[in-house]
């Protein structure tokens, strides 16, 4: 086997080794931690891009860690969707990590260890082709996220983390029930094999299969923070440290990814008794999520809470597009996913730059001390605000335009138009008001001893550059997401590659 055939497992192995080095080399070796973490994150980005190039050419990489022939043993599968998620994760992780190295990682000893283990969980969840393995990677990314959320300590973080941990433990229990039911009915856990077997089930098993599917929707919906399950997010993200909040921008996308993966592969239109299990559910849920989240953004009294609500709204937007379960809808949703992840990361980091200069770490939307660098922070905030609302010329506009173009000329399509456009206006008003208060309605003097941004602005500028690149390269990226949607809607190729068919 050549080295290249191991490409699919590298995004899990590299951060795992880096995380272990950081755990073992504990103590006062922060430069070492930073170097290991930086090298690892860069390497993961490189591998992810290589995977995207190879899968973009139509290849589907199947890696069998135990060399068991399919459907036995655990498999890792890199298709276009997985590669796309890996690239986005690595980009956000790199920016968050660089931001943390300018001081945020000094509040405790294990920041980089947790950070790398979080990457293991995220990358594993995107790559695995096995339902139970997905559960295991979920737990890895969750326990790392608990530690990262608590990182820095303090009352607010402890309160938020308590809710977050209890909710996710209950979610894990539901996940096991869902996976267990699916195993009980089909006798397999390999997603491709489950997909084949679900299609062959007798109609008498329909209730069980659909029940399992809806349980999984609840679990993934909890991760993605959709309508009745989003209450944990604004508090948790508003109280996390900035680099952690920026990295968590990708956490909700794990839920979105799982919804796309499981409900196109296992519960697709060809799935016999399980066919189109969530088709009637996903679009209404997504629209209600959007609606409520824009309201929350409008009512928020702190910038970070507002960004949290805008994040939920963006999840609603992409799920509405994905909920159409058409080629154009999924492609538009995936394009918007890349854009909104980068944007939310930018905004969380800008909010931190801003809160530092206002003194006492406050991001409350009230008149406060003048910023000492209003031009630099203001420009970054302005770009982030344009992007998150979806105004031209940035990619958010292109994404939303694609989503609206993908909407069918039916009642649900008109609802999609109405909610998305009204919501965008509400978001525009909300974030404009926040900007006016934070940058213009200030006191005449800056806060005493306000720190300058210095190197902290660099990762943010990097992310903004990535946003601009996403806009300029909209053509190639859209053809990639469209090809990914094609691959998802024709799961036969995926299934035969994994099962090693003819």
């Amino acid at each position: 086997m050549s080295a290249l055939s191991h490409l699919a497992i590298l995004p899990i192995l590299i951060p795992l080794v880096a995380g272990l080095i950081c755990v073992l080399a504990r103590g006062r070796l922060r430069p070492l931690h930073r170097a290991v973490s930086l090298v690892s994150t860069l390497a993961v980005l490189g591998v992810a891009v290589a995977l995207a190039v190879r899968t973009g050419a139509g290849e589907l990489l199947v890696y069998r860690p135990g060399a068991w022939p399919g459907p036995y043993g655990i498999v890792l599968v890199a298709d276009r969707l997985a590669a796309l998620m890996l690239v986005v994760t690595a980009m956000v992780a790199l920016a968050a990590m660089l931001y943390a190295t300018s001081g945020g990682d000094g509040r405790g000893r294990h920041f980089h260890a947790f950070f790398q283990l979080q990457l293991v969980g995220l990358n594993g969840a995107f790559l695995t082709g096995d339902l139970f393995n997905l559960f295991v990677f979920f737990e890895i990314l969750l326990i790392a996220s608990y530690c990262l959320l608590l990182y820095g300590g303090g009352e607010r973080r402890t309160k938020a983390a308590l809710h977050y941990v209890v909710l996710n433990l209950a979610g894990s229990a539901l996940f096991l029930v869902g996976v267990g039911t699916l195993y009980g009915v089909t006798g397999s856990l390999n997603m491709a094999d489950v997909a084949v077997r679900v299609a062959l089930l007798p109609p008498t098993d329909a209730a069980l299969v659909r029940g399992a599917g809806l349980l999984l929707l609840v679990v993934f919906g909890l991760k993605a923070a959709v309508m009745p399950l989003y209450f944990w997010l604004p508090n948790a993200y508003a109280s996390a440290t900035a680099p952690v909040a920026a990295l968590f921008a990708i956490m909700t996308k794990v839920g979105v990814y799982c919804i796309v993966r499981v409900f196109t592969l296992i519960f697709g239109p060809l799935a016999g008794p399980g066919a189109d299990t969530i088709l009637p559910w996903l679009l209404p849920i997504a629209l209600v999520t959007q609606f409520v989240a824009y309201g929350g953004a409008f009512a928020a009294r702190g910038l970070r809470r507002q960004i949290g609500y805008l994040l939920i709204a963006s999840v609603g937007t992409m799920l509405a597009a994905i909920g159409l379960f058409t080629r154009d809808g999924i492609a538009a949703g995936l394009y918007y996913l890349i854009h909104s992840t980068l944007t939310v990361a930018v905004l969380f980091l800008v909010a931190d730059l801003l809160a530092r200069q206002r003194g006492a770490d406050t991001d409350r939307l009230i008149s406060g001390p003048r910023l000492i660098e209003p031009g630099r922070i203001g420009t970054l905030f302005f770009i982030g605000a344009i992007a998150v609302v979806g105004l031209p010329p940035l990619a958010g506009f292109l994404g939303k335009a694609q989503i609206l173009a993908a909407a069918p000329a039916t009642a649900s399509g008109w609802w999609l138009w109405a909610v998305t456009l009204t919501g965008s206006v509400i978001a525009l008003v909300a974030i404009t008001r926040a900007g006016v208060v934070l940058f213009w309605q200030t006191e005449s003097s800056p806060a005493p001893a306000a720190p300058r941004t210095q190197g902290r602005a660099l990762p943010v500028i990097g992310l903004v550059a990535a946003l601009l690149a996403l806009t300029v390269l909209a053509g190639p990226v859209t053809s990639f997401t469209t090809a990914a949607a094609d691959q998802l809607l024709q799961p036969a190729g995926y299934i035969s590659s994994v099962l090693g068919g003819p």
């Binding site: 326990i143 308590l162 209890v166 267990g180």
Partner: protein, 110 residues
């Protein structure tokens, strides 16, 4: 046997959910533990309930039972144990940092 298993799972999950909805961290942790016991039992039964059969291939024994759910449940138990340990420490930390054991971190107004 099936009735016994089903009622055991039902009672565990019901008690777990009841405790999960309490306002103090200690009952919540107990509730999550009971819930995970119920789920683990559920996972075991997904391999079908058959007494006295072997989970591995042995020459001469034809009565086999699916071994995979047992492996799954072992994984789930280990993960659940780790998570519970983490939650216990977090609850203690919250009690020390916040000065109370309410799940919201503050006493509700009387």
């Amino acid at each position: 046997m099936a009735f016994l298993m089903a009622s055991a799972i039902g009672v565990l999950v019901a008690a777990g959910i009841f405790l999960l909805l309490r306002a103090r961290t200690f009952p919540v942790i107990l509730g999550l533990s009971l819930l995970s016991y119920g789920v683990n039992l559920f996972l075991v039964t997904m391999g079908r309930l058959r007494g006295g059969s072997a989970p591995i291939l042995v020459a001469g024994v034809t009565d086999q039972v699916d071994p995979l759910p047992q492996a799954l449940v072992l994984t789930a138990i280990v993960i659940g144990f780790g998570m519970t340990a983490f939650l216990v420490v977090l609850a203690l930390r919250a009690r020390l940092t916040l000065g109370n054991d309410h799940v919201d971190g503050e006493e509700p107004d009387a």
